[in-house]
Amino acid sequence: MKDNTPTPVTPLLQDEEVTILPPDYTLKKAIGNVEMSKMLDEAVVAQAQQNVDSKQEDFLQWIGEDIAKLERAFTDLTVKLKPGNLHLEELRRIAISIKSQAGTFGFTLASSVARSLYTFCDNFGFTEAQALVLRKHIDAIKLILQKRITGDGGPVGQELLKDMAKLVSKFR
């Protein structure tokens, strides 16, 4: 039930343009004025992170659906490679989704490649050569997830990111 009866607050400053209110301690009071940092200690955080990490297989299933959508968007984009093709935005949106999820489940390298993919979409010029760059990104993401390469992929992962950056820089 909502009860938002405001507690009177004395501003630290109030003039004709600006009002500055002191910090609000509603949240702190709700937990009995205990330090939140003590309630959410290392052990609690570690357990919660472990639970996230245990969902890696679930993630690989979800991401399979996103990869399929990415492939469809790429096909639809390249069938009619012209400015205004809305499938570019679709592709970009899915790349952002992959970037946001992959690293959360330990696939940091896949997130990095997905980031490179969606930022490349921002300056996409609808040429065959640039479509090939999109293709290489998609293939890299698929391979990383297929091989379950977690973390930054070590020296091989770093080499991959350098190659992607070199490829992308040709079109700046």
Partner: protein, 172 residues
């Protein structure tokens, strides 16, 4: 993994109500699961800003965690609407933006819209917890100005420019 026995009574976390918004049900489920593992059992969820406002109309929440890219109302529009609500309780509510959009201009836009804390996806549990601890244990002043409504954007406790007193002296 052993649960921490030294953490102060975490039962108090049951007093906290959190609103989480994300258009991806998988992400929503993930964040809700993490919060539950941390001890926050009262979590309301929605898939965009409009749903968020509707929940705020009915429920009293203490903290908001929202994505950016949602439709029909995205996270930034939602934040601006919350900061303009007539309800003084919600105007100053801490809002954490959890988003894949993490370029410098995105962070600036989010900060200027009134977001309290910013987390880039992919994220770790620790990063989320650090932001929750920040808003609970170290709440900041709240600024109401013609072109900005939100928690003090300055992070450093630095009064070298004179702070509020300088403004008071100027106006006097």
């Amino acid at each position: 993994m052993k649960k921490s026995t030294s953490a102060p009574g975490r039962a108090a976390l049951l007093n906290i109500k959190i609103l989480v918004l994300d258009n991806d049900p998988r992400m929503l489920g993930l964040v809700q699961g993490i919060l539950s593992d941390l001890g926050f059992k009262h979590v309301f969820t929605g898939s965009d800003g409009k749903e968020g406002l509707s929940i705020l109309d009915k429920e009293q929440v203490h903290l908001i965690i929202t994505d950016w890219t949602m439709q029909p109302m995205d996270g930034i529009d939602f934040v601006k609407r919350v900061r303009s609500l007539p309800d003084a309780f919600y105007r100053v509510i801490p809002i954490i933006l959890l988003t894949a959009r993490a370029e410098e201009e995105d962070v600036i836009a989010a900060r200027d819209a009134g977001v309290t804390e910013f987390i880039a996806k992919p994220f770790t549990v620790k990063r989320l917890v650090d932001r929750i601890i920040a808003v609970v244990d170290n709440p900041r002043n709240f600024v109401l100005a013609p072109n900005f409504r939100g928690h003090d954007r300055r992070r450093r406790d630095d009064n070298s420019q004179g702070g509020i007193e300088k403004r008071k002296r100027r106006k006097a």
